[in-house]
């Protein structure tokens, strides 16, 4: 294990030509999140990075650092004064992409909004959605159980998080879900990246219209009313309209894309591991712990960025004011310095430490909702379809950038 830049440079396994021979590129000094090799050899690359490269660099665009260990990711994520979110979380941000609040803002503005929004997303409030989510799981399963097969992503995984979020939190009609999911997907993964802003714009326009309409309606006391009420910033000004729309966009973004990946990966894992499935069926109280372990090893948010507000050193690397730094959550969650046998998937793990939902003040506001959706999905799936497997001759299809997503998962079970 290497602790600093100097250790890494002295390690023959991290020599540029050795990396080029093994990975097709020097992933320590010239990493690319969008490289198809990363998509194909995801676990291997993340494990290599966390062990061998406490810090790595990308030359893509204007370039960025990647911080990969559990301890350093935590330090950088907590130090928002030095590592600001206000210039965005995406490396080489395409022109014309509006900033998302609260994600792309710093305290105190960020704190103003989080104080306002947190009560809507607390474990206590989220727990009241359980019955609706459980019912939705069954409505979806009913649509395909008799067939003895399904394509999990389009028939369940991409739908449930949207339903859960739209019905319970946003109160937006689920008929428009497909359009929004598509907009969010394309806004994240479309290539060339210059096309992404136009897809995002669709989502903004839709939610802007929705928010305007809600402003004319009687109050419901939900999160939308809270957003409409707005906040007063520390300088005494009121949050402008575009900040309110952007809060709604950020929530929608988080609410629909990410949970699908953990869910699909968990179901895929269970399709491949009948013995783990049986453990969960025999003792459903293990499911919550399993969800935590699945969240650790199947991270949908691989890395998000910050901008240095001053010169600073991280793991022996000098960073300059203005440098862009990615926090590799996915690597930090498999750091052998912080946990035992990180490469092993163990649903009975005693303590599960991970950074899948982020670290620091921007900790995922939807984490409680996501956990409930995942737990409920596994409970209901195993109850209704205890025996299932991957369709022979198929394999899940992945796409990876700073996010990771599964596009296809073919399942079959006895009719």
């Amino acid at each position: 294990m290497n602790e600093t830049r100097a250790d890494m440079e002295a390690d023959p396994e991290v020599a540029p030509e050795v990396l080029k021979a093994r990975f097709g590129r020097d992933i320590a000094r010239d990493f690319d999140l969008d490289d198809p090799m990363f998509n194909d050899r995801f676990d291997e690359v993340l494990t290599f990075m966390v062990n061998k490269c406490p810090i790595s660099f990308s030359k893509v665009g204007t370039g960025y650092h990647l911080v990969n260990t559990n301890e350093q990711v935590r330090r950088v994520a907590q130090d928002w004064r030095t590592f600001s979110s206000a210039k965005g979380y995406m490396p080489n941000r395409p022109e014309g992409l509006p900033y998302l609040m609260p994600e792309e803002s710093d305290p105190p503005m960020h704190t103003n909004w989080r104080h306002k929004l947190n009560p809507h997303m607390s474990p206590k409030v989220i727990a009241t959605y359980e019955d609706v989510i459980r019912q939705d799981c069954n409505v979806l399963i009913d649509t395909f159980i008799e067939k003895g097969e399904c394509e999990f992503i389009s028939e369940f995984g991409a739908l449930l998080p949207g339903w859960a979020f739209f019905k319970n939190v946003l109160g937006v009609p689920i008929d428009d879900l497909a359009m929004l999911v598509e907009g969010v997907e394309q806004g994240t993964f479309a290539l060339p990246a210059e096309e992404r802003p136009s897809h995002m714009a669709r989502v903004f326009t839709y939610l802007d219209t929705h928010l305007k309409w809600r402003a004319t309606q009687p109050k419901r006391g939900d999160v939308i009313d809270t957003i409409l009420e707005g906040v007063i910033y520390d300088d005494g000004t009121e949050a402008p309209w575009d900040h309110k729309v952007s809060i709604l966009v950020d929530l929608t973004f988080g609410g629909i894309a990410t949970t699908t990946f953990v869910m699909s990966s968990a179901i895929h894992y269970l399709a491949m591991h009948p013995e783990v499935r049986q453990q969960l069926i025999d003792d459903p109280s293990l499911i919550e712990n399993a969800v935590e372990e699945f969240s650790r090893v199947f991270p949908p948010v691989i890395a998000l960025g910050r901008t240095c507000t001053r010169d600073v050193e991280v793991a022996g690397t000098e960073m300059k004011e203005g440098d862009f730094v990615m926090l590799t959550w996915g690597a930090a969650s498999r750091d052998p310095r912080a946990m035992e046998e990180p490469e092993k998937i163990d649903i009975k793990r005693e303590t599960i430490l991970h950074s899948t939902f982020g670290v620091g003040p921007h900790r995922c506001i939807g984490s409680n909702l996501a956990r409930l959706e995942l737990t409920t999905t596994i409970e209901e799936w195993l109850r209704r379809i205890p025996e299932f497997s991957l369709r022979e001759g198929t394999a899940p299809v992945y796409v990876t950038g700073f996010l990771r997503s599964m596009r296809e998962l073919q399942l079959v079970w006895p009719k």
Binding site: E288, S355, R363
Partner: protein
């Protein structure tokens, strides 16, 4: 056993209360209700408290006395 919950670093992951519900209580926002303070861990709850501490992604809970 006595532990301290850091007031700035607790950001409401809620892991502590999952592992040690008799030690760590969450407030209405989902953050550790005792953040900024030290608390005594009730006898018999030490192991749960340790699991909660170790799974806090912020390392916001630290040991003051065994």
């Amino acid at each position: 056993m006595r532990v301290k919950i850091d007031g700035e670093h607790c950001t409401g992951h809620g892991r502590c209360a999952k592992y040690a519900p008799n030690v760590f209580i969450l407030d209405d926002d989902g953050y550790n209700a005792d953040r900024g303070n030290e608390i005594d861990v009730p006898a018999g709850e030490e192991e749960n408290a340790k699991r909660g501490m170790k799974s806090c992604p912020e390392r916001a809970i630290t040991l003051v006395a065994e």
